[in-house]
């Protein structure tokens, strides 16, 4: 019986293949052999395939999105654009930490992304040949400041920042109150340390910890290997009066160690469990009221505001005991520059520029970016974002505090970040020492800088 079944299956399949020719025509094979699968394919293409035929310009847009948390919002924005104009827009989001990998493999394809992003000058160096010169476009002239454009060596506009973000230590005011403190009490690293250690001492009584887990899983480790590492770099650049370097000195590494120690020793879990903790874990701990502090950025607002009102949340600067702490603001800047693929067809380039422009000028686009994605976009046509953290950043700046700029865009390579992340993870777990972190920070900077610039 079984034998018969199998031979029947095999022969049917073979006949199907024979009819369609031995692998010559794929289209036909799809019609006869797999109606179910081809139907599914049509559904996938969805709006894109329907819109491909109408005469709404010949171009199409393929956006390789960097921000996983904004994936859903981009998908619906792309759909809205297609509905409105007929131009097909495909948005693919790379997994966290996989952007460079995905970009490399996608750019090698004939149907490459028309819109991708680089994280700043270092990222641009690799893709400069592939960036269409955006000078003279509407979107460029719409920028509130030319500083938000990423220039090529020859002065062409290679990338345009599309979002300005801030990060710091997100604080649950209600819990902080319960512990007997106010946001205003924390004005320096010493204050932060005092508060955090006091909360840890009374952890059982209070029922919550100071910091949400410092997760070192790849979905979360960028908060520390990149964002937190920005602070020692920033203060070193400030002290030396430079904006980038081929060899970092690590002047403020002790401060980096202090803040990292504070995070991992006053956390919801044991330091050695951190390597498996994910971004979700930390967010959920904060949402569940298990932690007062949570280092992250304004992009988290949309998920946090589902649970907390604006009055319950605050974002305080990351004090590491360096520089002028009284006037330190949030870390504000961008690592998100849009680039248009210069190798795409002219139609696609035109369609892509139109799409970018639409995103930052149309009502639908600006609203989606401000509200759903919670972005502050550096364009004249921007609408005010309801993002409480963004507002807080503005308040700090108005109060005369200096925002900490995003210098991590000058980190020599992704590899440098990964090596630092590994060293930090090992240090947190006790399987590695701080010297390894130092070496990953200082020595590896020089090594990677050299590799990247030869």
């Amino acid at each position: 019986m079984k034998k018969k079944l199998i031979s029947a299956l095999l022969s049917t399949a073979m006949v199907a293949t024979l009819i369609t020719g031995c692998g010559s025509s794929s289209g036909a094979a799809n019609d006869t052999a797999a109606p179910a699968a081809s139907e599914a394919a049509e559904k996938t293409e969805g709006a894109a395939s329907e819109a491909a035929t109408p005469a709404a310009g010949a171009g199409k847009v393929y956006y390789l999105n960097f921000k996983p948390e904004a994936d859903a919002a981009w998908q619906s924005l792309a759909k809205a654009y297609t509905d409105e104009t007929g131009t097909p827009v495909t948005v693919v989001t790379a997994a966290s930490g996989e952007y460079e990998t995905t970009l490399q493999s996608e750019m090698a394809k004939s149907d490459a992304p028309t819109l991708f992003q680089v994280n700043g000058p270092v990222g641009l160096a690799n893709w400069a040949d592939y960036c269409y010169d955006l000078s003279g476009t509407d979107i460029f002239s719409n920028l509130t400041s030319e500083d938000y454009a990423l220039k090529n060596a020859d002065g062409g506009v290679a990338g345009i920042a599309y979002v300005i973000e801030s990060y710091g230590i997100i604080t649950n005011k209600t819990l902080l109150d319960k512990a007997g403190y106010k946001v205003e009490d924390i004005k320096s690293f010493d204050d932060l340390k005092k508060v955090a250690e006091d909360i840890t001492a009374r952890k059982d009584e209070l029922g919550f910890a100071a910091f949400a887990s410092t997760g070192m899983d790849s979905s979360s480790d960028w908060r520390f290997k990149t964002h937190l590492a920005n602070l020692p770099i920033y203060f070193e650049y400030q002290a030396d009066g430079i904006t980038s370097t081929d060899a970092i000195k690590g002047t403020y590494l002790d401060n980096y160690k202090n803040i990292f120690d504070l995070y991992i020793n006053n956390s919801t879990c044991e330091p050695k469990e951190l390597s498996a903790k994910t971004a979700d874990d930390a967010r959920n701990e904060f949402l569940d009221g298990k932690a007062v502090f949570y280092q992250n950025g304004s992009w988290e607002y949309s998920s946090l505001s589902e649970k907390y009102s604006d009055d319950e949340l605050a974002m305080i600067p990351i004090y590491i005991g360096a520089g002028d702490e009284a006037n330190q603001g949030l870390c504000t800047g961008t690592e998100n520059y849009w680039c248009v693929n210069a190798e795409a067809s002219e139609d696609d380039i035109a369609a892509t520029i139109d799409f970018m422009n639409w995103c930052v000028t149309s009502e639908t686009g600006t609203k989606a970016m401000a509200e759903e994605m919670g972005f502050t976009i550096p364009f004249k046509t921007a609408v005010t974002s309801p993002n409480a953290f963004v507002k807080q950043d503005q308040a700090y700046t108005e109060a005369g505090r200096t925002p900490v700029s995003w210098n991590f865009t000058t980190m020599p390579s992704e590899e440098w970040k990964n090596a630092l992340g590994s060293a930090l993870t090992a240090y947190a777990a006790g399987t590695g020492d701080w010297d390894a972190v130092k070496s990953a920070f200082v020595d590896n900077w020089a090594t990677e800088y050299k590799l990247a610039n030869e």
């Binding site: 692998g23 460079e100 750019m107 990222g123 592939y130 390597s275 498996a276 590899e415 006790g430």
Partner: protein, 283 residues
């Protein structure tokens, strides 16, 4: 007859030949060429000679990955084959439930490497944290052991099947005769059973050897090379050089690494083939 078949070559050979050219020959030749080049995408390729190869051998991560891979290959080949042979011995005794055992032991083979990796990552991390040990991503030694356990778990069943087939071919008369001559079970094992299943041993060790040496999926999902590439094997090292490193110079280096990797596999296969041949002569 040969003539008439020969006339039909477009039907019999051409489809495979075309696909083979697309799927193997052309990429292979092109890959060798690219290993001497610098390129970001293939639209802009510049020939730079052998400097990629020089970089491969000065790349510590590649040397480390080679050491890790070699050690893993040796240890896993031994462990998988010994365990599989032992279980096969037990399952040819005619004990109750032989079929069920065989079914269970073979089952993990059907599950893909990526999936297996995640299953074991969860399981092993739980165990390690329960014992208060550093997790997989922190300790290259537990990463190594984890890979070993995972690969043994997956491959033992497959090799066991081959050994069972081999052991069943050993004639019962021969063993009976030896028993009558007063041979101990150990003598029967070493003097009769092992020499008789030598072909199976050769096949199994070849399969485990190449599987372990070329391991990618399990490595990617179980440890991802952590901590700091300490548990990274060759295939993953090449992949990461290619796709995770930004900058045009890395592609060529990745391709050169792949060529070196390919040559290593060829050498191992040749040694193995030689071993097989010499065994065949003896038999």
């Amino acid at each position: 007859m040969e003539k008439s078949i020969r006339k039909y070559w477009p039907v019999f050979v051409l489809p495979t030949l075309v696909a083979f050219t697309i799927g193997f020959l052309w990429p292979f030749v092109w890959g060798i060429y690219l290993s001497f080049c610098k390129f970001q995408t293939v639209n802009k390729v510049s020939f730079i000679g052998i400097s990629n190869y020089l970089r491969v051998f000065s790349d510590d991560t590649f040397i480390h990955a080679f050491g890790f891979t070699a050690l893993f290959t040796v240890v896993s080949t031994l462990s998988i084959n010994i365990i599989a042979f032992f279980i096969a011995m037990l399952l040819t005794r005619g004990i109750k439930g032989t079929n069920i055992f065989r079914t269970v032991f073979f089952m993990p083979n059907l599950i893909g490497g990526i999936v297996l990796g995640y299953i074991w990552q969860i399981l092993l991390d739980c165990l390690l944290s329960r014992w208060g040990k550093p997790l997989l991503a922190l300790d290259a030694r537990s990463g190594f052991l984890g890979l070993l356990i995972l690969m043994s778990w997956q491959q033992v069943g497959y090799m066991m099947i081959i050994y069972i087939a081999g052991l069943q071919n050993v004639s019962p008369d021969l063993i009976e005769a030896a028993e009558i001559d007063g041979a101990t079970p150990w003598q029967i094992l070493t003097k009769i059973k092992i020499p008789m299943v030598m072909p199976s041993i050769t096949i199994c060790s070849f399969l485990t050897l190449t599987n372990s040496f070329k391991l990618f999926d399990q490595n990617l999902s179980l440890t991802g090379g952590e901590p700091a590439k300490a548990s990274q094997m060759l295939a993953l090292n090449i992949y990461e050089t290619y796709y995770a490193r930004s900058g045009a110079q890395w592609k060529g280096i990745g391709q050169a690494k792949a060529v070196v990797f390919f040559l290593l596999v060829v050498v191992i296969s040749l040694i193995q083939l030689h071993a097989t041949r010499s065994k065949e002569v003896q038999a």
